[in-house]
């Protein structure tokens, strides 16, 4: 295996990991505030179609990212009103959001099927990516670099800022946070909106970077992987980054193993390669829950409706 081949694998891995990293990061912040939003897949699809439509109509991929984030945040508000203001069940409402987002994106995308758009190209000048090191560092779409920046920002926000502390307090003990005067519902609205915006960008990564076309169900169930990823990462942004790339690597390895023919498939049948991400999830969850913290990273108020007594 040559170095060039490994670089080619790496580039595919980065592409496959970026959407679930965005969506997972948004869901992480939402869950940290104590809200479980299972509508990630629906929000990703709405972001995807909004992003595609924007590029198709205006030709501007940067604007498409903004529109996709706004669209994702907007549909997440349907969930927020139902669960936060009306105290509806979060699991059921989240599932409904996924179904709603899938249907809405299909309807919105009807007139865009069969169009092709120009994918996001790299922001760096071509000469930077001429040699191998340059290729590894500089040959990606802007969304990839943005996802790394967001991981850092989310970590900094949650662990080093007062606002992040309030958000975590709301997620750990909503009644205490409420009793010392913080707006639990307000903080959660903001967290849900952020989750929606990130899912929207994650969804938009499909038409903007990976497959410059619109098709129904374009995200192919990756919203669910993003939700699993948050648990996998123990609600820690750094681990989420590693987890997203781990999932991307396993999914990509499966394809490269099959393409290389008999060598890899003799090691493990192709069904085994396809099952690897899920086996790895089980193993990781087992290790996490066996550790001393006992998987106790989950926000204490996760999924519980907050009904202030006064």
């Amino acid at each position: 295996m040559s170095v060039d081949f490994l670089i080619a694998v790496l580039i595919t891995v980065v592409g496959a990991s970026t959407p679930i990293l965005f969506a997972g990061l948004g869901e992480l912040v939402t869950e940290k505030s104590g809200v479980l939003n299972l509508g990630v897949e629906g929000m990703m699809l709405v972001g995807a179609v909004a992003g595609f439509a924007t590029v198709d109509l205006t030709g501007n991929p940067w604007l498409a990212v903004v529109v996709a984030a706004a669209a994702g945040a907007l549909v997440s508000m349907v969930f927020a009103v139902l669960t936060l203001s009306l105290s509806a069940n979060q699991v059921a409402t989240g599932l409904a959001l996924t179904i709603f987002g899938t249907g809405l994106s299909t309807l919105m995308g009807k007139s865009f099927t069969g169009h092709g758009i120009k994918a996001f190209t790299t922001i760096f000048p071509d000469w930077l990516a001429n040699d191998r090191i340059g290729k590894v560092l500089f040959s990606y779409s802007p969304l990839v670099y943005f996802s790394f920046i967001m991981v850092g920002l989310v970590w900094w926000f949650l662990n080093r800022t007062r606002a992040g502390l309030i958000l975590r307090a709301v997620g750990e003990n909503d009644l205490s946070a409420h009793s010392i005067g913080y707006s639990v519902t307000g903080v959660r609205y903001a967290a849900v909106a952020f989750g929606g915006a990130m899912a929207g960008i994650g969804g938009a990564a499909f038409p903007l970077v990976l497959t410059p076309l619109w098709a129904e169900g374009l995200t192919g169930g990756r919203g669910w992987i993003a939700i699993a990823l948050v648990v996998f990462a123990g609600w820690k942004p750094g681990r989420l980054l590693a987890g997203a790339y781990f999932f991307g690597l396993l999914g990509t390895l499966e394809l490269y193993a099959k393409a290389s023919g008999t060598v890899f498939t003799a090691l493990l049948p192709s069904e085994g390669w396809a099952a690897l991400p899920y086996l790895a999830t089980i193993v990781a969850l087992a290790i996490i829950s066996a550790s001393k913290a006992g998987g106790g990273n989950a926000p204490a108020c996760l999924g519980k409706p907050f009904i202030p007594s006064t």
Partner: protein, 363 residues
């Protein structure tokens, strides 16, 4: 004005109840109602778009002799039976079930209603009421044209075929592609990936990248979305689309596409039902009957184009058959003897890969 009392009411109700009977006596002159179910949206740009185009062609050809309705996005499985029964209850007496996964539902509905006629696409089960036929088209024929051109365009002698599920329809396409390519280049290798989904554009694109990164410098695919064609366009790898003309997604690199043309079949079978001459008989059409064609061959050298068109002509006049023996499988065993040809049954049940395919069937 009629005064509404009990006697009048009962009389009126009886008259109303007899109305449908009278109406059904009059059906000889009424148009035949024809129902279609599709597994996906009609604008998917592939499989379902092709079936819908066929339905439109049938409607145009038969005019006011028929009325037709369709239901799209019908999930394969028990839901299909509900939709088919619903179409029957709305008066449709000829039903087209256009996806493999509808087979069991289609057979059940055919068994349940002796007066319905069912045409089942890519199926193989009969109905004891003698009111069900299976139909299919010879998808593998276009693949031998692409295999020939792929081997002529390739520099590395390695091509790729992006497979969905290891079912006979896909396997016979891979074999046809490889056999034709090896006639041009005896050392030809076809790399394959099974992605185990009909539709996941991002995975299709990643699989296409994986195949290209491993040395394939020309490829084709059996997937429903044009994602792989887009990857090939961006990487400068010649490719061939399937189901409909996909050149808009690969303006320079999509050299041709296979086209499924169901219209002539739908017209013929629907007309037979209208005329009362419909009999259960399985249909398996190809280039010769106009059920398969290819989009214009573009952006290739003249000799490559000529070679491709020669094979197409061979299919039309019956002088070419990709499955003419001797043909060996991957292990080197003779599967089709010298001088023999694969039968329709062999092709429709194909479960082995030919020599030259670099990859395996999931066991």
């Amino acid at each position: 004005m009629i005064k509404l009392n009990r006697r009048n009411f009962i009389g009126g109700a009886a008259a109303a109840a007899s109305l449908p009977m009278m109406a059904s006596k009059a059906t000889a002159a009424d148009p035949l109602k024809v129902g279609y179910i599709y597994v996906g949206p009609i604008n998917d740009g592939g499989w379902n778009t092709a079936h819908e185009a066929g339905r439109q062609q049938m409607l145009k050809a038969l005019g006011d002799k028929v009325q037709s309705q369709y239901v799209e996005n019908v999930p394969e499985g028990p839901d299909a039976e509900r939709v088919l029964r619903d179409l029957y209850n709305q008066g449709n007496r000829l039903l087209y079930a256009t996806s493999f996964g509808f087979m069991d539902s289609a057979v059940k509905v055919a068994q349940a209603y002796p007066d319905v006629t069912v045409e089942m696409c890519t199926g193989f089960k009969p109905s004891s009421n003698n009111n069900l036929s299976n139909y299919n088209i010879r998808f593998h024929q276009a693949r031998s044209i692409f295999g020939t051109m792929a081997a002529m365009l390739s520099k590395t002698g390695v091509g790729a075929y992006l497979g969905t599920y290891p079912v006979p329809e896909v396997i016979s396409g891979i074999n046809s592609f490889t056999i034709a390519a090896r006639k041009v280049n005896p050392n030809w290798k076809t790399k394959i990936i099974w992605i185990n989904t009909w539709f996941d554009p991002a995975k299709e694109a990643d699989a296409a990248r994986a195949l290209i990164d491993q040395g394939a410098d020309v490829m084709t695919q059996h997937t429903d979305s044009p994602a792989a064609v887009q990857v090939c366009e961006s990487k400068g790898v010649p490719t061939f689309g399937q189901g409909s003309d996909q050149s808009q997604f690969g303006p320079t690199m999509c050299k041709s596409s296979s086209l499924d043309l169901w219209g002539a079949f739908y017209t013929q079978r629907t007309k037979a039902k209208v005329d009362g001459t419909w009999k259960p008989e399985d249909t398996y059409w190809g280039f010769k009957e106009g059920a398969i064609d290819i989009a214009p061959i573009v952006h290739v050298p003249d000799d490559v184009k000529a070679a491709g068109e020669k094979i197409k002509q061979g299919w039309i006049d019956g002088t070419y058959d990709c499955y003419a023996g001797p043909i060996k499988d991957q292990a080197g065993n003779i599967k089709i003897a010298d001088g023999a040809h694969a039968t329709d049954g062999d092709i429709l049940g194909m479960n082995w890969l030919v020599e030259g395919v670099d990859g395996s069937l999931p066991s």
